[in-house]
Amino acid sequence: MAATARRRETWAAFGFLSPWLIGFLVFMGGPMVASLVLSLTDYDVLTSTRFVGADNYRELLADPKVRTSLANTLVYTLLHVPVTMAVSLALAMLLVRAGRRSAGFFRTVFYLPTVTPKVAVGVLFLLLFNGQVGLVNEVLGFVGVSGPDWTSDGPWIKPGLVLMGAWSLGSTVIIYLAALQDVPRDLYEAAEMDGASPWARFRAVTVPMISGALFFTLIINTISGLQTFDEVYTAFYGSSNQQSYGNDAALFYVVYLFQQAFQFLHMGYASALAWLLFLIIVAITLVQVRLSRRFVYYESE
């Protein structure tokens, strides 16, 4: 009797889960399996599909643009993630100290840019970071610094994009703020009574207590960094005219994948590129998870 009820409840649970399950199978699982199969073919949507085995994977290992785009993406991620995390944490710590009303105001201000469409961020990047008339260089000029050509000088494109990435760090700030507000006050009081300096309190109390949030944002920011597309594509490849000026330094991995798929109609090859990125993300995430065991503190443990 109890077993029947449990079975019934299990099925009911699946019933309630079914919108997500169906969505996952139709929009995620299905396409993923399809792309895995397509990665083994020469497929251009318009003509018949030809099985080519591992040819696409062999080709991508020899493709210099894969190396370039991967290097660009990794460099960007390595710069973007620490900068985002450090600035977000600093802002969140300021917010925690702010008064109740002002904290609410600044929380909204910090989060607002996050809802800006990425396409708009790409256009903003071109305006703000223009080397000749952009606001960023104008401001640098006030303090006597002659800013670089962020949008057209190869070596400065990625640093510019990293700074622009700060535009959307609002969600990370909110996560840190929630984590900081959860740190028990008595831990700080105890540390203070023991004579711990502010830096020591930050290192010994704050960081361990919010390490779960730090780890979570490390993972999601790393993944989003590796998948960067919208703002870069808008800024450097969005129109036929912009494509003419495509700088190698702005050729990010997903941008190259998109070009192969929808500009050159190499869908099979693009699928192989997608799977390589998936494997890279899985590998990096596994390493992060392994490392996290040493650094992340969970209250339930």
């Binding site: 009911a12 019933g15 309630f16 079914s18 003509t47 223009n130 000749q132 670089p148 050509d149 109609l265």
Partner: protein
């Protein structure tokens, strides 16, 4: 309880499933019983009098059937999805340079039968425009608008530098370099004026042709990017950019222009001269009607005019169910009488708004002839009237790149090469040799797969 749980769960699934259902472009559908059909299309909107008048005329030609405008420009993803799902549009409007890629993959219908059946007068079209819509000797699109490239010279800037705009020419490269040096202004570490913008990478085919070379064979099968004359053209034009502060500074400065506004680079004196598409004359006429401008043909090193023509075309997807109607529709749309009617409608609208009609450049030479003879009237600025005549003369010397089976990859190969040189990563010969290998491989692969 269990029944309620199930009902709720099933209901939720149904709602989600229905909400997830989405329509594509859709096949042409019967209008409301009878034989009348609605033709679907991609890439064309009816935003102005010229588009609307022609659209209405083409629809009248296939009545009681009609075509439904799509709005928005051609989108490869949308087109591929529609073809892959077996619901291609009946008509597609795209840049002529894209035709080859889709034609090679048999996604577009050859128009030989259409031309014969509907007695399309092919002699009315500009030869270069037809070349750009022809792959391997087969026509895949009827030419629509055309873009000519001419030299636009900012008279005020040249006069201030003591140069005569009438003598400014692209045929004498050393003299052009010297003039560029006089026109360019750099101060305080900043570029204040571009003396002459060669418009590379995008205009490299124009420079190559001006130097006596084609970047691809006339049958579209053999890349010629490593031709010494192409290398020479690239070396020269990159030299012009480097002499004006280098690419990074040059491009940043150019990106800051109010290109489509009243404070454009001609009005503000930020540019001396550049080769440009003819549509920009209309932009200047609209925003800077009093600007002092000289428009001259872009001259090759042999002193003869060179005009690289590109543009749009109408094509019919291979799997349309209404090929006959679609053929009749695109015939009417691109016919000279339709263009002339549209130009008259535009001229009336401009007159009502108190503005001059500066003309429209089409792939139809018969239409251009009548429009510029009978419809366009001199405006307030003689500079623009002279400019129009120059464009008309120049387009007689028009050339086009033939449709290529791997057009996008070919273009990406040479443009990437130019960007690598501009960025200082490679020398012209090395970059173009690499581009040649990539472009030829892409052309060969596209042909073998087609």
């Amino acid at each position: 309880m269990a029944i309620r749980v199930w009902r709720a769960a099933v209901g939720t699934v149904l709602v989600v499933a229905l909400a997830a259902g989405c329509g594509g472009v859709g096949r042409s559908t019967p209008k409301s019983g009878g034989d009348a059909v609605i033709l679907t299309m991609m890439g064309f909107g009816t935003g102005d009098e010229i588009a609307r008048t022609r659209f209405d005329a083409a629809n009248a030609a296939i009545a009681p059937a009609a075509a439904k405008a799509s709005e928005g420009s051609f989108n490869a993803q949308q087109f591929l999805s529609a073809v892959a799902s077996g619901t291609p549009p009946d008509l597609v409007y795209m840049e002529r340079r894209l035709l080859g890629t889709y034609a090679a993959k048999k996604a577009l219908m050859p128009l030989g039968d259409c031309v014969t059946r509907e007695n399309v007068d092919m002699s009315q079209f500009r030869e270069a425009a037809v070349t750009e819509a022809t792959l391997g000797g087969t026509l895949y699109g009827l030419p629509d608008f055309s873009n000519n490239r001419v030299l636009m010279i900012n008279d005020s800037v040249l006069s201030a530098a003591g140069l005569d705009p009438a003598r400014f020419t692209t045929s004498d490269w050393p003299a052009l370099s010297a003039a560029t040096a006089r026109l360019t202004s750099i101060s305080g570490g900043r570029l204040r004026r571009i003396g002459f913008d060669p418009k590379i990478p995008e205009f490299l085919p124009l420079w190559a042709r001006a130097n006596g070379a084609d970047m691809v064979s006339s049958d579209g099968r053999t890349a010629r990017l490593d031709d010494p004359k192409v290398i020479e053209a690239l070396t020269y034009t990159v030299g012009l950019v480097n002499a004006q502060g280098g690419w990074a500074r040059f491009k940043s400065f150019r990106d800051s222009f109010d290109f489509f506004g009243a404070k454009n680079q001609f009005a503000t004196g930020q540019l001396g001269a550049f080769p440009m598409e003819d549509f920009y004359l209309n932009v200047l006429a609209e925003n800077s009607p009093k600007v002092k401008l000289t428009v001259a043909p872009f001259l090759g090193v042999d002193g003869k005019p060179v005009d690289w023509i590109t543009g749009n075309a109408w094509a019919i997807p291979a799997k349309t169910r209404h090929a006959d109607l679609a053929c009749k529709w695109i015939k009417t749309m691109t016919d000279s009488t339709t263009w002339i009617a549209a130009a008259k409608a535009r001229a009336s609208a401009r007159l009502a708004a108190g503005k001059p009609f500066t003309g429209v450049y089409t792939g139809n030479k018969k239409a251009d002839e009548v429009i510029f003879r009978d419809v366009v009237r001199p405006g307030g600025n003689p500079a623009f009237d002279t400019a129009v005549q120059t464009v008309l003369r120049t387009q007689e010397a028009g050339f086009a790149t033939p449709a290529l089976a791997a057009g996008e990859e070919f273009k990406a190969a040479w443009q990437d090469a130019v960007n690598r040189v501009l960025d200082g990563k490679q020398q012209p010969a090395e970059a173009l040799a690499q581009a040649q290998r990539q472009a030829q491989a892409a052309l060969d692969e596209a042909r073998s797969g087609s």
